[in-house]
C-alpha cells in the first residue's frame, strides 16, 4: 500500500480532548506523526491580563479540567510569591490534602481514558465508580465536583468540614483494595501486557531532552520529583517514595501512575495526622508590586509552572503558563515512529493528555 496521511482528529475517539494527529502511514506502520494543536485555544494568557488577581482563580481551574485543583493552587502559590505573603500552616496542610486527592482523581481519570484506549470498557467504568468517591470527598470540602475555586491567594477558602478525617481515612482504606483490583484486571491480563510492553520507548537521556516531566519522566527511569527536589508548600514535612520504573515504555508509565496513587494515599494519611490548628487564610493587598516571579509544582501530569509579571496594578501584566502536556505532544513523533496505528491510542493514552492546558 502506498503511503497515506490519516487525520486522527479533531473528532476521534482516541484523542481525549481536541487535537489532531496527522499520521503518515505505510500500510499500518507509522512513518511520521505530526500533532496539530489549537482546537481549544482561547487565549487564556491574554484574557487573564483583563482580569483582576482574585478573578483569575476560578479561570485557572479551567486550565486543566482533569486536575483543576493543582492549577488553581499553582496560580495562588505564584501570587503568594508575588505579593510576598506567608500562608498559614493549616492552610498549607489542607492544600496538600486536596492536592493529593486531586492527584488520585487525575490518575484515575487517566486510567479511565487508558482503559477505553485499549478497548476495555470495564476498566473505565470501575474507575469512574471509585473516582466518584473522591469527587464526593472534594465536594464535601469545596462544594464542586470538578472546578473547585478553592485555593485563595494567602490560604484556602474554607476549613475542612467536620468528620472529614474519618471519611477520608475510610475512603483511603477502601480505595487501596480497589487499586489491587485494577491491577488484577490490567496486569493480570496477558493481552494488556502485550498491548503495553515495549511500546513508545523513551530512553532516559531522550526523555529529559524532549522535556518530559512528572510521571512520564519517572517512567523513563529518571528519579525526579519536584515535590521532593524543589519542595513547595509543606512537602518537606512528609516522607514519601518517588516511584520510578526502568522499562521506559507504556507499561512503565502505567505502573508509575498506579504506584503514585498509593503514595498519594500515604501522604494524605500523614497530612491528616500532622495537621495543626489555626487560621486558614490571610489578607493580601490588592495591587501587586512591580516584579516578576516564577513558581513550579508537581502537577499530576508533570511540571506545571507559572511566570507572572506584576506592574503595580490589580491586574497581571503578563501571565505565562508552562503546561506539561504541551511538551509531551511535541514528543509524539519520537514515541510513535515505527509503531502500528493500533498503538497510537495506547501510547498517546499513556502520557495522559489534557488539551485544556495544552492549548490554553
Amino acid at each position: 500500500m502506498a503511503d497515506m496521511w490519516v487525520n486522527m482528529g479533531p473528532q476521534h475517539p482516541f484523542n481525549h480532548g481536541l487535537w489532531n494527529l496527522r499520521v503518515l502511514m505505510d500500510g499500518e506502520t507509522i512513518k511520521y506523526a505530526e500533532p496539530i494543536l489549537g482546537y481549544l485555544h482561547r487565549g487564556w494568557e491574554k484574557s487573564m491580563e483583563n482580569r483582576t488577581y482574585p478573578q483569575i482563580i476560578p479561570l485557572s481551574d479551567r486550565l486543566c479540567y482533569g486536575s483543576s485543583m493543582s492549577w488553581s493552587h499553582l496560580y495562588c502559590m505564584t501570587m503568594e510569591e508575588l505579593f510576598d505573603v506567608e500562608v498559614p500552616e493549616r492552610a498549607e496542610y489542607i492544600r496538600v490534602i486536596v492536592l493529593e486527592l486531586q492527584r488520585i482523581v487525575s490518575h484515575l481519570l487517566w486510567l479511565m481514558a487508558f482503559g477505553v484506549d485499549l478497548g476495555n470498557l470495564t476498566v473505565m467504568l470501575y474507575v469512574i465508580r471509585e473516582r466518584e468517591m473522591f469527587l464526593d470527598l472534594l465536594q464535601s470540602i469545596t462544594g464542586a465536583r470538578m472546578t473547585y475555586n478553592y485555593p485563595r491567594i494567602g490560604g484556602v477558602r474554607n476549613d475542612l468540614p467536620p468528620d472529614f478525617e474519618r471519611d477520608c481515612i475510610r475512603a483511603m482504606d477502601y480505595f487501596q483494595g480497589k487499586i489491587d483490583d485494577y491491577e488484577k484486571l490490567c496486569d493480570g491480563s496477558k493481552i494488556f501486557r502485550i498491548r503495553t510492553e515495549g511500546l513508545g520507548v523513551v530512553k532516559p537521556a531522550d526523555a529529559i531532552n524532549l522535556g518530559l516531566t512528572g510521571p512520564n519522566l519517572r517512567a523513563s527511569s529518571v528519579d525526579v520529583d519536584i515535590r521532593r527536589d524543589d519542595p513547595y508548600s509543606v512537602y518537606e514535612e512528609f516522607d514519601f517514595d518517588v516511584c520510578t520504573h526502568d522499562a521506559c515504555d507504556t507499561y512503565a508509565r502505567y505502573r508509575v501512575r498506579m504506584d503514585e496513587m498509593r503514595v498519594s494515599c500515604d501522604i494524605i494519611r500523614q497530612a491528616l495526622e500532622k495537621i495543626p490548628d489555626g487560621p486558614v487564610r490571610v489578607k493580601v493587598p490588592r495591587n501587586a508590586p512591580k516584579k516578576s516571579v516564577v513558581a513550579r509544582v508537581e502537577d499530576p501530569r508533570g511540571e506545571g509552572m507559572m511566570y507572572v509579571v506584576g506592574d503595580g496594578t490589580d491586574k497581571p501584566y503578563r501571565l505565562s503558563v508552562r503546561s506539561p502536556v504541551f511538551v509531551y505532544v511535541s514528543a509524539a513523533n519520537h514515541m510513535l515512529k515505527g509503531h502500528k496505528i493500533a498503538d497510537v491510542p495506547s501510547v498517546m493514552g499513556s502520557i495522559d493528555m489534557c488539551l485544556g492546558e495544552t492549548d490554553r
Binding site: I208, N209, S221, D223, M305, Y307, R318, S320
Partner: protein
C-alpha cells in the same frame, strides 16, 4: 534503580551564578541568586554561547519554559531552564529584543523540549527564533495577521 537521579550533582545556585559571571563577565547581569533559583539578564549576542555553556558544563538539561513579555518599548524573551542534576536549580534568562523585529537564537537544537514553546512564543508574541527547525504558527491559523500577546492587540471591551 533509576538511571538518572536528581540532585546528585554538587553545584548549588550560588556556585552556578559565580561560574556564569566569571565566564561571561560583560554580557550577563545576575539579579539575584539562591540555591534553587537564579534570575539573570543576558545580552542577545552571548545568549547562544551561554546556553551551550549551561548545557555542556553546568549540566542544565531541561528547558522548562520559553515565553515572552511585551514591554511596549522592547520585547523580552524569557527562558527558564532547569538542571535536574545540580540541585534542581532553575535559571531565568531574560533577553531584551528589538520591538519591531524581535529575533533570537533558538535553543531547540540544544533542548528538544523547547520546540513547541518557541513555536508558541512565535505565535503569540511574534519572536522569531533563528535556527528553529519548524517556525510556524501552532495555535492560530497560518494566515492570522496579529500577535495576540502583544500589548497593541486589545481584547474587546465588555462592560
Amino acid at each position: 534503580m533509576a538511571e538518572i537521579t536528581a540532585c546528585s550533582g554538587n553545584l548549588t545556585g550560588l556556585e552556578i551564578a559565580d561560574a556564569l559571571s566569571k565566564r561571561f563577565a560583560e554580557g550577563i547581569k545576575i539579579n539575584s541568586a539562591s540555591p534553587k533559583r537564579i534570575f539573570s539578564q543576558v545580552d542577545k549576542e552571548i545568549f547562544l554561547e551561554l546556553c551551550k555553556f549551561l548545557k555542556n558544563d553546568l549540566l542544565f538539561d531541561h528547558a522548562s519554559l520559553v515565553s515572552g513579555v511585551d514591554r511596549i518599548d522592547r520585547i523580552q524573551a524569557v527562558f527558564h531552564i532547569t538542571s535536574y542534576i545540580n540541585n534542581c536549580c532553575l535559571i531565568e534568562i531574560v533577553v531584551d529584543l528589538d520591538h519591531e523585529e524581535p529575533e533570537i537564537d533558538s535553543i531547540t537544537p540544544l533542548w528538544e523540549g523547547a520546540n513547541y514553546h518557541e513555536r508558541e512564543t512565535y505565535d503569540m508574541m511574534g519572536i522569531v527564533f533563528k535556527g528553529h527547525p519548524d517556525m510556524r504558527r501552532i495555535f492560530l491559523p497560518e494566515d492570522t495577521r496579529f500577535y495576540p500577546q502583544r500589548k497593541d492587540f486589545k481584547l474587546k471591551e465588555v462592560p
